[in-house]
């Protein structure tokens, strides 16, 4: 062929080619998305800070605003926020009450709450909890669910122990004072605070004894029916950040400090908390997948039903939508 | 008012009237602008059972004088004694020898009229039935029996002042001090009250010392009129009033009364600071 004959197809190719390439995210506007987190900004939210800072959200076409609230479930259900982080057991209760929210991706493969007490005094068999004084924030939340599930696994009820409420979430002080024998707490948080106060501790975890699903991402029914791909993109970017941090915790810590400078006041403790949190996510990057495990959800749902938190009218399948497992 | 008869309200064995004697009494107060001397070098002899009226220019210390006699103020120097030697003693507020009525009724708003009159006895610890009975009698004496259960807010100015008088008289004190008691009332009511007070006093002669602004009232009421100087106050003159009792309300035509009236006014003119009253003839 003569060079002249190639010219027209070549020009056509040059004109058409850019349209075939995947467009760079810079030229398209990012989708504004609101994420609602509970409590205060904390190093445990490092995946979100990293995903923002390192551009994982942007690459997924999202511009994420983070806000904090005590009413995550209800506001996400109403559509006032797009996504949130919530306890699976809370989702079960809310969904049974008719609140239109679903659990869409697992963040914590291991249940974060455990019973904590001075080293050498913590029973490994829940049946031995009888007669002890236990401190917990109150009759709400995953700590309460875990405590009752643990008691049930030991053949006990709440009347077999003395429960003391710490609505200000300061049950650590009760343990240090000796006002209680054990407390519920986050495996990545309270033990470190107690060690820092000079008390070495042991834990009684529920994962083997009374399995319950851990915290994860949630979204409202309306968003999931109108734009499930958005949820998938968000969950995927979050997962990516978790895996990055699991491989290199320092990256997560730096992102957290950049977003919340107050964390830098005690980098050492923050790093310890982050590393403990990574263990709860699953530990190795390969073990962190966002998978919603029926082998944990089934027994957990059953436990909550036996304990009277839910009445079983809404099946677990209606409460969950694994957005990372959706067909593209 | 009904006349006073010897009833159970009278203190058995106690004198009906006590004399009052003030000797070189001075009374100074501390104030922000330095010491303020209300009385200085004041001498006054009030015979037991007499009705003495104290009159003087504004600010002369008439009210201070009464409070010294009542025992509310302790003089800075000088002597005050109630009674005849050797029983004469300095005054002490609330010991029952002095009854005091102010220009305002000063009734306690949340007590009934009856309980207001009973207040002095209540403070002294008298039992309830006894003090209520004595208060009832006192109210009858001033003609206020029907108002016993009313609250002070429901009394007219005149009725309230009667109640205050009943309170001062309830303990049958031998000395009665009155600080312009009727000056807040209208002229007609005032004349009536003056007459009633005189009648009350005539039926039971306790010592009365009454402060007034009104020369006419002074002449109408007094046995003796003490004219005070301007501040610091002392007694400039004591003018006897020898008119017969009971005195008619309309003294205007009486030449003897007119003479005393003129004498009192002249004495007042003398004690006024000249710059204050340039219109008075000297």
């Amino acid at each position: 062929m003569s060079p002249r004959r190639l010219l027209l197809p070549l020009i056509a190719l040059v004109l058409v080619l850019p349209g075939c390439l995947p467009s760079s995210s810079v030229s398209e506007p990012l989708r504004a998305v609101k994420l609602l987190l509970g409590f205060r900004p904390d190093v445990q939210f490092a995946p979100f800070y990293l995903a923002q800072e390192a551009g994982y959200f942007a690459e997924a076409g999202l511009e994420v605003t983070i806000e904090h609230s005590a009413d995550v479930l209800v506001l996400v259900a109403d559509g006032r926020a797009d996504f949130g982080v919530a306890d699976a057991t809370d989702v079960m209760i809310a969904r049974t009450s008719g609140i239109p929210v679903k659990y869409i991706s697992t963040l914590y493969d291991r249940f974060p709450v455990a019973l904590i007490g001075p080293a050498g005094t913590v029973p490994s068999d829940p049946a031995e909890l009888a007669g002890l004084r236990i401190g917990t924030p109150g009759e709400f939340g995953s700590s309460w669910h875990a405590l009752l599930a643990l008691l049930e696994a030991g053949g006990l009820t709440r009347d077999d122990v003395t429960i003391r409420a710490y609505p200000q979430f300061n049950q650590v002080e009760g343990l240090l004072n000796g006002d209680v024998d054990l407390i519920t707490g986050f495996r990545s948080n309270e033990p470190l605070r107690l060690e820092a106060q000079g008390m070495s501790v042991d834990l009684l975890t529920i994962d083997e004894v009374a399995p319950l699903p851990g915290p994860g991402l949630i979204a409202g029914d309306e968003l999931l029916s109108s734009d499930p791909a958005l949820a998938t993109a968000f969950a995927a970017a979050t997962l990516r950040a978790q895996q990055t941090i699991a491989a290199d915790p320092q990256v997560g810590l730096d992102a957290a400090v950049a977003a919340v400078p107050a964390i830098a006041e005690d980098r050492e403790t923050a790093l310890a908390v982050l590393e403990a949190t990574i263990e709860l996510w699953g530990g190795e990057p390969g073990a962190i997948s966002g998978f919603i495990d029926p082998a944990v959800w089934g027994p957990g749902y059953g436990a909550l039903e036996r304990l009277g938190f839910i009445d079983g009218s809404v099946p677990p399948g209606d409460m969950v939508l694994d957005v990372l497992a959706l067909p593209d | 008012m009904t006349t006073d008869t010897a009833t159970e309200t009278e203190r058995v064995g106690a004198p009906a009237a006590l004399a009052v004697r003030l000797e070189r009494v001075a009374m100074s107060f501390a104030s922000a602008a330095g010491p303020h001397t209300a009385l200085e070098g004041l001498d006054l002899d009030v015979p037991a059972g007499s009705l003495t009226v104290v009159i003087g220019p504004n600010g002369c210390g008439k009210s201070t004088l009464l409070r010294v006699i009542a025992g509310l103020l302790i003089p800075t120097s000088g002597e005050v004694a109630l009674g005849e030697a050797p029983d004469a003693r300095a005054p002490r507020a609330g010991d029952g020898r002095v009854g005091l009525a102010f220009q305002q009724p000063r009734l306690v708003p949340w007590l009934s009229t009856l309980d207001n009159v009973a207040l002095p006895m209540s403070l002294a610890g008298a039992p309830l039935p006894e003090r209520r009975e004595r208060a009832r009698v006192a109210l009858e004496r001033v003609g206020l029996a029907e108002a016993a259960s009313s609250r002070p807010a429901h009394l007219s100015g005149g009725m309230a002042q009667r109640a205050a008088l009943a309170r001062a008289l309830a303990g049958d004190p031998p000395i009665l001090l009155l600080d312009e008691p009727f000056s807040a009332l209208d002229a007609l009511t005032r004349e009536g009250f003056d007459a009633e007070l005189e009648a009350l006093w005539m039926s039971r002669r306790r010592t009365v010392v009454m402060v007034t602004h009104s020369v006419g009232e002074a002449v109408r009421m007094a046995d003796r009129i003490a004219v005070m100087t301007t501040r610091p106050g002392s007694v400039a003159r004591v003018i006897p009033v020898d008119l017969p009792r009971p005195r008619p309300t309309a003294l205007a035509g009486d030449p003897a009364a007119a003479a005393i009236d003129a004498e009192v006014r002249a004495a007042l003119a003398e004690v006024q600071t000249p710059e204050l009253t340039p219109w008075l003839d000297r």
């Binding site: 209760i93 009759e139 939340g141 003391r164 609505p167 | 005091l100």
Partner: protein
């Protein structure tokens, strides 16, 4: 009769406005429940005994907190009112204590005092203290000086003057302080419960909100607190009518 009719009418108007709001904005019951949803939830909570179980706890905290707080406030307020020296010495501490938010102090107090009913009564008493103490102080000083002189002329002792002149004179202002105090006692009981309690209307609010996601139940608890406050306030007003001389 007319007062009752006006109250009922305004209550009805309030309920209608509330219902209209939920209908117009289309908010779901788990965000802003409609009045009939709250009423239905209330009936269930009353029937199951749940509401009374928590209400009884809160009422006892309120009454005990008022008893402790009001009596100590009247005593301190009287001392402050009578003595300028005492006022100068004590008032910086009293004002400072008032300025520190009780929400921050309450958890500490809860732990210091063993976290039981005593701690909550003390927290409630602390919240109630200031307005009543100040009202007493102002009221004591409001005693008419003319009456004071009259009492003195009758030989009244300082104790008699306090009991029979100053305190009765102080009553109108004092009752004003009490009106404020009783409504604060309701808040104080809830704050105390949030610091460390396992039952009570404040706890029920938490459980309903954070544990059960039962917004209607939360509204029921809030409405019950409002009713308690209204009831206590009305009680103070009716006592005031009898005790304070109307002039």
């Amino acid at each position: 009769m007319r007062r009752l009719a006006t109250t009922l009418l305004s209550l009805a108007a309030f309920l209608v406005a509330w219902k209209l709001l939920t209908v117009v904005t289309g908010t779901p019951d788990y965000i802003l429940p409609a009045p009939e949803v709250v009423a239905e939830r209330a009936l269930r909570a009353i029937g199951s005994g749940l509401l009374w179980e928590h209400t009884a706890v809160t009422i006892s905290e309120i009454l005990l907190g008022l008893a402790v707080g009001a009596t100590s406030a009247v005593a301190v307020g009287t001392a402050l009112g009578k003595s300028v020296v005492i006022e100068r010495v004590l008032s910086p501490y009293i004002v400072a204590a008032q300025s520190v938010p009780i929400l921050a102090l309450a958890p500490l107090l809860d732990i210091w005092f063993g976290g039981g009913l005593l701690a909550r009564v003390l927290i409630c008493a602390l919240i109630v203290f200031f307005p009543i103490a100040i009202a007493t102080m102002v009221g004591i000083r409001a005693a008419d000086p003319l009456l004071r002189e009259m009492f003195r002329s009758l030989g009244a002792t300082p104790g008699q003057i306090t009991a029979r002149l100053e305190i009765p004179s102080a009553l109108p202002v004092l009752f004003g302080g009490l009106r404020v105090g009783v409504t604060l006692a309701v808040i104080g009981a809830v704050v105390a419960e949030w610091a460390g309690a396992s039952s009570g209307l404040g706890v029920l609010i938490n459980i309903a909100d954070q544990g059960l996601f039962d917004t209607p139940l939360m509204f029921v608890a809030l409405a019950t607190l409002a009713v308690i406050g209204i009831g206590l306030h009305g009680l103070v007003v009716s006592i005031e009518r009898r005790v304070v001389a109307t002039s």
